[in-house]
Amino acid sequence: MPIQRRRFFQSIAAASAASTLSAQSAAPTLPEKVATVAPETAAEPVQRFFTVQQRATLRRAASLLQPAVGALPGAIDAEAPEFLDFLLSVSPAPRQTLYRSGLDHLDSQANKLFQQPFSGLSAAQADQVLKPLIVAWTFDPPTDPRQRFLTELRADLRTATTNSAPYAKANANNSRRRRGPGGAGFYWLPIDPTRR
């Protein structure tokens, strides 16, 4: 196509687009913002990181480490295990390994002590597996990978629970605890990110 003809068609197209824009901007009112819901309220998360066995171990550990207390939901109510499955799936490899081998260790200890998987242990039985792995610490976490795992698991379950929507809702309903975990804060949006 000769260059002049091409420019002609380009100018026609531009004029047409401009008139369309003009017509749209002449609309008297803007549409209302579409109301939306969070994905968690509409669907279940697909779990892909942990094995079925590891998932069962994680859920049992979650029910014991971060149970519901009074009106405040526990880790299971807050779907903390399901969230951790997602979080770990996008985490650096060393943390993934820590979690996988940590859950496997809980299971192997359960089998060794009670000849059944961790997910089937009573609270008293599970305590014999969990308790030796929990150490008090500050600033420098334990270096033993199994203790480190349980340290992280306990803290992560707590965060995933207290920062969940069910917990925030329960917290808001309980005025005495409104200022506790799971609160709000200033979130910084991306500030003029580099466009290159």
Partner: protein, 526 residues
Amino acid sequence: MPTPTYDVIIVGSGHSGGMAAGVLTAKGVRCLMLNAGPVVDFEKDRTNKAAHELPFRGFGKPGQHPHVFQANEFNANTWVDEKEIPYTQAANAPYNWVRVRLVGGRSLFWARQSFRLSDFEFKAADHDGFGENWPIRHDDLAPFYSRVEAQFRVVGRKEGWPQFPDGNFVDGGFDAAPDSECQKRLTAVANKMGMGVSRMRAAIGENGLASSVNLSIPNALATGKLDVVPNAVVRQVSVDKNTGKANGVIFLDRHTGREMHAKARVVVLAAGTLETTRLLLLSNLANSSGALGHYLIDQQYGCNVVASMPEARDGKATPQLIGGGLFMPRFRNLDKKEKRNFIRGYALPMNTGSSPDPRYFTEYGEALQKKLASYAGSCVQGSIFGEVLPRKENHVRLNKDQQDAWGIPTLHIDARYGDNERNLCKDAADTMEEMYTKAGLEMLVKSDKVNPPGYSIHELGTCRMGEDPKKSVLNKWNQCHDIPNLFVVDGSSFVTGGWQNPTMTILALSMRASEYLADQLADGNV
């Protein structure tokens, strides 16, 4: 449009750059300020959100800021993205380089703890024979400290101790509430152990912010003598081949990569310690001494010791019983005859009346909840601000094998703490434990470990000042020995770091250097 002619280009807009702009423009000096990042809009750039509304429930995007321990999902977008501007570290020597490139830099987010250095730091080599003295002493900087303290509205309690010089404190804002029983008990023990007990000193600024963006730059802009260009990634200080003097800087537009050359009679670097040194290394300037990039220091933070006051547990933590802070400025090695397995010293900041973190306990589930409820409000927590020795081997250099997003070589950091830092930290932890025990508290947890270098966000040195051009990069006016119209006014000029948060000293040095520069410009000496 003709290119404007500036008297001074200021690279960086944090505390030191903002101060330079304020002082110079007030004296009629025409300035151009270049900043590598954008301007913050406090209304549009942040919004109130609940943690559950964040994509990662407050955990933050995994791996996003591996060296910024201070990062969380709420503030993640304020820190420099390490993928965009990477750096490398020596093997087994992690360094936490914590950066902000927004206009205002780290002055937007600092903790506002405000101290002066004393002659125990300025003349440290005279005291213990290690390293070099500063070419100035406290008396030289005192008038500038006083003016900075007034501008930043520093509050504190005067003590009259030589290792803790009093400031020009403003009235109001200081917690003058009577000491709680816990504070009294700890103070009595500390005094018996040879420590003075004071209170935290802090800048209250204006409307909760003590930053260049509200305390320095607005006044400079009001003079009509300051132009600010955001998103200007400076890659080189340019030099006139005939005179050997600096004549400007070359920068790239952050978004487009377009290269620009800004010219001025004088260049002032205020990009933050390591970015300033990186820029000088990139420009191949100011290194006749061989000291550029060396003697990297900071302050060691960490070493956490926590106890609980038994009488304050189970809902009995009244304000009369527990609450309030204590601050023990350096008390070690003030006497030259004192013999320890470390030189220099540390300060102990301590708070009382806090609630425990779950990690302090071995319980879990409902038992943990009960424990947390029982100990709520009963805790005493202490940590350290520890001095780090300036050693030549702790250094930075260019890594030409790795470039940032604009093709600029990055920095390689090789810094580690030594026995002096480790012994000092252990002494601090043991001292706190002794304090708690003697005060009748129940010990909960104790760590005598520190975070990696850089964690305190107080990186200093690498472009130090000194009398001898063979041992230092700058003279006592923050003026480059090699190039008289090149000044460095940020923390890179430090010779020693002390235990003190360096901001007041950076500001006072920048004010002093900028007034000197204005006089030199007026006299035609630069």
